[in-house]
Every structure is written in structure tokens, then in C-alpha cells.
């Protein structure tokens, strides 16, 4: 995403309805008619630039404020967080909301652990299955290949939400009801169309001569995959892992339906539980502390790895 392509920039930025700087082109035109008046046109572009940043800045602030507001509220004292009317900025810094959160229900640690467990299994499973299948699809011909690939892509057309009810029955039949493993299996299944598609394309893109050289040197097929090709498709692997992590960390519906036991709950279920409140009284401070805990890991990981995310969109998601 680093390189810029100029023409589309102008086209869009200049589209009449879309940008406050839209008035620039006619003015520039007039300037040309009046002869070169560089200083004035520079002043004008400065004005347009200020307009651009003013408008964009307000919009960006609107997008960031809800998150900032949740953080601010979470570090207010317990009384201040529930005060009416609310304060805009914390009058004192306090971790009382987080302390309350730490002992809520089974304890914050349990829910955090469950969330990391669910995400960990989902990421590991998605990566493992996608890499193996992507390699198989890319390097082998075998009976039923097209059928299996088609069935995998069909998952995209049939969102798992519509098959939740029978999943409930099927998972029960294989002994995975009320288990984080069962939920992880659903998360893995749902990520597979994207993961397999992306990994197959990644393997297709590396010359198989490299693997063949390894085979000549006495590697087995599997060793060639592990030591040679896997390194080359690593960016794709990171992308698959990132998508899987974000999806499973945030997932609400599947844990809600498949986990019945408080000690199994993940963070999204726990924070929605906070909303129901003890004795009908909602503690907004603890609630927003919970939101911060649930959001922070995924935001941090996204910010660290965002180029892989966009890369995944370019190479996989949008071409499926």
C-alpha cells in the first residue's frame, strides 16, 4: 500500500460531491488564464489543504472518539464513571474499574484465558489446515480435487450463522458441545475458504524447481514443504493467522450458543454479561474497562501487522 498512483487520486479528490477541496480545479483553471501567479495559487492550495485537514480531521476524530471515550471512562473512579451528567475528562485517575473487573464472575483471568485459548486453537488450526490443503491443491492432481475445492468455497455462500442449529446437534454428537474446541472448530471451518484459497495461490506463485532441487538433495515431499516452500509463503501464513485471530477473538454468536458454562465464556460473552448488570444496576465503569480489555489486544495486533491485512485483501479475499 506504499506506492501511490497519481491519476485516481486527482479524479476522486476532485469529484464534486466528495471533497471539500473540490473547488480547486476551476480556480486553478482561472489562474492559468490570468497568467502565472504562483504566490496566490500557493496560498490557495494552502487554504484547500487546511480545508482538507479540517474536514478530514473532524471525521477522523468522530471515528476515534468512541474508542477514546471508552478508555477515558474506564480509568475514572467508580463513582465518577457512573455519574450523572457524565464528565468529559477523568477528574482523577483510578484503576478501580479494572479491579472490579478482575474479580467479576469467574475472574477476568479465566475469560482472558478462554479467549486466548479459543484464538490460539483457531489460528493454529486454520494455518495448519490451510497450508497443508493449499500445498496439496497447488502441487498434486488427485481424484475429487475440484469437488473438494468447490465444497470449500461453498462455505462462503452459506454463512455459518445459518447452520448454527444443526451444528449444535452435530457437535453434540461428536462430544464437542459446551467446549472451546467445538467453537474453535467452527471458527476454523469458517476461515478455510479464505485460508485455502490464499495459500494455494501463494504456493502456485513460487517456482517448484526450488522444491525439486530439495527432492534431488534427498528431502522427502514433506521436508521440502517444511524447509523450502513454507519460508517463501510466510507472508501469506501471517495473513491467514491474522484474519483468523481477529475473527475468533471477536466472535460473539458461536460462543454464546455453544458455551453454556460460565467458566468457559470468552471475553465478548463476559462483557455483554456486564451489561445485564448485577441487580439491574449497570456499572458503566466496569463495562467500559471490559470493553478496553476486549478491544486492546486485537487493535495492537492489527496495528503491528496491518500491511499483511491489506495484502490479504489484495491477494486473497477480493479475488475469491
Amino acid at each position: 500500500m506504499t506506492q501511490h498512483i497519481d491519476p485516481p487520486v486527482n479524479t476522486l479528490a476532485g469529484s464534486p460531491s466528495a471533497d471539500p477541496a473540490a473547488t480547486t480545479p476551476p480556480r486553478a483553471h482561472r489562474d492559468r488564464l490570468q497568467g502565472p501567479r504562483r504566490r496566490r495559487s500557493r496560498a490557495r492550495s494552502a487554504v484547500a489543504g487546511t480545508g482538507y485537514h479540517l474536514f478530514s480531521g473532524i471525521l477522523a476524530a468522530l471515528f476515534l472518539l468512541p474508542l477514546i471515550w471508552a478508555v477515558l471512562n474506564s480509568v475514572k473512579g467508580a463513582g465518577e464513571a457512573n455519574q450523572q451528567p457524565p464528565t468529559w475528562f477523568p477528574q482523577s485517575f483510578s484503576l478501580a474499574n479494572y479491579e472490579k473487573l478482575a474479580t467479576y464472575g469467574e475472574g477476568l483471568g479465566v475469560y482472558l484465558g478462554n479467549s486466548f485459548l479459543l484464538s490460539g486453537i483457531s489460528v493454529a488450526g486454520t494455518v495448519l489446515v490451510s497450508v497443508l490443503a493449499g500445498y496439496g491443491f497447488s502441487r498434486y492432481s488427485f481424484g475429487g480435487k475440484q469437488l473438494l475445492f468447490g465444497a470449500t468455497l461453498l462455505i462462503l455462500m452459506v454463512p455459518y450463522a445459518t447452520i448454527l442449529l444443526p451444528l449444535y446437534i452435530v457437535l453434540g454428537a461428536v462430544g464437542l458441545s459446551n467446549s472451546v474446541f467445538g467453537v474453535a472448530l467452527i471458527m476454523i471451518m469458517f476461515q478455510l475458504p479464505f485460508g485455502v484459497f490464499l495459500m494455494r495461490n501463494s504456493f502456485d506463485a513460487i517456482p517448484r524447481e526450488l522444491e525439486e532441487a530439495a527432492l534431488v538433495d534427498g528431502c522427502t515431499d514433506f521436508q521440502a514443504l517444511r524447509h523450502v516452500s513454507l519460508r517463501l509463503v510466510l507472508p501469506g501464513v501471517v495473513t491467514v493467522a491474522l484474519f483468523s485471530f481477529i475473527a475468533s477473538w471477536n466472535e460473539f454468536l458461536a460462543p454464546l450458543i455453544f458455551l453454556n458454562d460460565g467458566s468457559q465464556y470468552t471475553l465478548p460473552i463476559m462483557i455483554v454479561g456486564l451489561q445485564s448488570g448485577a441487580y439491574g444496576e449497570v456499572d458503566f465503569g466496569a463495562l467500559q474497562a471490559g470493553v478496553v480489555v476486549a478491544v486492546a489486544p486485537v487493535l495492537i495486533i492489527y496495528l503491528l501487522l496491518q500491511r499483511y491485512y491489506v495484502g490479504g485483501l489484495v491477494n486473497g479475499a477480493l479475488r475469491g
Binding site: M1, Q3, I5, P7, P8, T11, L12, G14, S15, P16, D19, G49, S56, L59, A60, F63, P66, L67, N73, N82, W88, V129, L132, A133, G136, R139, Y140, S141, F142, L148, L154, V158, P159, A161, I163, P166, M189, L192, V196, N201, A205, T239, N250, F252, L253, P268, I271, V272, L274, Q275, L287, Q288, V291, V298, L299, R307, G311, L313, V314, L318
Partner: protein, 311 residues
């Protein structure tokens, strides 16, 4: 991006089918060793439940009991089930509004993000960040911000002199729908912006050069180059937005809880209630199937819209 799959996407597609079919492609059933885990998961967690769903929709099946065949009764009952009919109607309205609003706002945000000015990258990230926030967490942020006791949104409106007391963001069906729409725009629009940016940058720059030489103005370049080239991307986003909206659930369960007066119950919400509150699996399955068929038809349309352009 340079760290990703080295060759650009286009060459990849051209090369890959050929190399896959090359004589060096390893044959026999050894490939099954690699795809076996995938096959097991697809069979057990996808195809089997799909089959059970179809079976289920023809049964009278209480959650804590056994199934009993009742033909098309479950489907016929959809027509007289007020919860279902209300849910279908509301979901359609919500889908239209959410899609239209997200499309309109996203064009403004794309124009900002695609600028060459310094800071454009920061704006782009700001617009996208909410997308990685979970829907449940996002709905709770909204819940804390719009509640009547100490919601900051009410306080802002009061300080601006727009309202005397709490505005009641969730009081009437219209207000509740409006509030959820602000939430979904905030939460989901970043994805649309990024995808549109990717689509824009894939348009060859020479096209614009040539058009400019021919004297095309800004509007003409937008109309005859940008929009036609963006058509597959727009079609894809349209389908994704419609699909996502038809399946909306989390934001309503958490923020409005279907209220006031069941006015914001979506189809998935009705499925959830019927199966896990009323314990009627058969009826819930039939409604799921209806939703599923709608989605498959939508995808088939998308397939038709997109493929001719690609090839």
C-alpha cells in the same frame, strides 16, 4: 506489500493454471494426505450440518426432544408467524438503509484516504480501526454512550442545546434503528474504504494519462474510467454489505435487544429466539433455509455480474 507473495496478482493468475496442469504436477492420490484435514472439517462441520438443517426443516423438533416428520408445515407457518414476518420486513428495511448509507459515506472517506496529502494515511487508519473492534464490544461502546443515565451522546446534545433531557436513542423503533445505523457505519465502513482503495489503485495510471491528453475533464475521467473499472469491486462490496446486513444479529442482541416492542428483531434474531428461547428447532430451521436460499441467489447474481468482466 512488497513482502507479500512476490509476483503481482495478474501474472500469478496467468501462470498458475498452466503450472498446476503441467506434466510435472504430481499425480495419484498422494495429494489426499495434504487435503485430508480440510476434507474432514468440510464434511463434519459444514456438509453434515447443512444436510441436518435441510432435514430439520421438515420436522417438528423440540430442542429437548426427538424429531417428528411434519412435511412443509414449518415453511407454511412462516406466513402466519408474526415474529418471522416482522423480522423479515425489518431486516429488509435495515439492509437497504445500511447499504445505502455505508456506500454514500464510504465515497467521502475514500476521497479523503486516497489523497496524496500528508496525513491521508492517518485518516485511513482512523477510519479502519473500528473494523477490527468486535461487534459485541462496539455495541457496548454505543450502549454506554447513548444510555439515558450518563451517556455522553446525550450530554453533547444537551450542551449543544439540541435537546433538553436525554434524547432517548433507543426509545422508539425509528430512534433505535437510527442508533444502530450509526453504529454499523462506524464499525463496518473501514472495510469498504480499504477495499475501494485497493480497487482504485489497481486501475492502470495510463488510462488517466491518455484521457487527460484527450482533454477529458475530472468528471469525465470519473464517469468513464474510474466507475467502469471499479464495477467488479462495487458489485462485490454490494453483495458483502447486503449479505452482512441480512445476517445482522450481534448489534441488535446487545444494543436494542430487539426492542422497543420487538421492532428491531432481525431474521437471525428470530431464528435464535425460536430455537433457544422457544426451543422449536424445526421452525427455526425453516426460516434459516429461507435466508440461506436468499443468500445463495444473491451470490449467484454476483457470480453472473462479476465473471464476464474478469475473463
Amino acid at each position: 506489500m512488497s513482502a507479500l507473495a512476490p509476483p503481482p496478482p495478474d501474472t500469478e493468475t496467468i501462470v498458475s493454471p498452466r503450472s498446476r496442469r503441467s506434466s510435472r504436477s504430481r499425480r495419484g492420490n498422494a495429494g489426499w494426505i495434504y487435503v485430508a484435514p480440510l476434507a474432514v472439517i468440510v464434511a463434519v462441520v459444514f456438509l453434515a450440518p447443512l444436510a441436518v438443517l435441510i432435514f430439520m426443516s421438515f420436522q417438528d423438533w423440540p430442542l429437548l426432544g426427538g424429531p417428528e416428520f411434519n412435511g412443509l408445515d414449518n415453511y407454511a407457518a412462516i406466513g402466519t408467524n408474526e415474529l418471522f414476518l416482522g423480522a423479515i420486513g425489518f431486516t429488509l428495511i435495515y439492509t437497504v438503509l445500511a447499504t445505502v448509507v455505508i456506500f454514500l459515506v464510504s465515497f467521502v472517506l475514500v476521497a479523503i484516504s486516497n489523497s496524496r496529502r500528508r496525513g491521508a494515511k492517518f485518516y485511513r487508519t482512523a477510519f479502519f480501526l473500528p473494523y477490527v473492534v468486535g461487534t459485541a464490544a462496539a455495541a457496548l461502546i454505543w450502549y454506554a454512550s447513548v444510555n439515558d443515565q450518563n451517556g455522553i451522546a446525550n450530554d453533547v446534545l444537551i450542551k449543544l442545546g439540541l435537546t433538553d433531557g436525554p434524547w432517548g436513542f433507543l426509545n422508539t423503533p425509528q430512534q433505535a434503528l437510527f442508533t444502530v445505523l450509526t453504529l454499523v457505519v462506524w464499525k463496518f465502513i473501514g472495510f469498504q474504504v480499504i477495499v475501494l482503495l485497493v480497487g482504485l489503485q489497481a486501475i492502470p495510471g495510463e488510462l488517466y494519462e491518455a484521457a487527460r491528453m484527450d482533454g477529458a475533464n475530472t468528471w469525465q475521467r470519473l464517469r468513464y474510467i474510474t466507475l467502469p473499472n471499479l464495477r467488479p469491486t462495487l458489485a462485490l462490496l454490494f453483495i458483502l454489505s447486503v449479505t452482512g446486513s441480512l445476517l445482522a444479529f450481534d448489534q441488535f442482541l446487545v444494543l436494542t435487544r430487539g426492542g422497543p416492542d420487538n421492532s428491531t428483531v432481525t431474521i437471525m434474531f428470530a431464528v435464535y429466539n425460536t430455537a433457544f428461547q422457544q426451543f422449536d428447532l424445526g421452525k427455526a430451521a425453516a426460516l434459516s433455509i429461507v435466508l440461506l436460499i436468499a443468500l445463495v441467489v444473491l451470490n449467484a447474481i454476483q457470480f453472473k455480474l462479476l465473471r464476464p468482466k474478469d475473463d
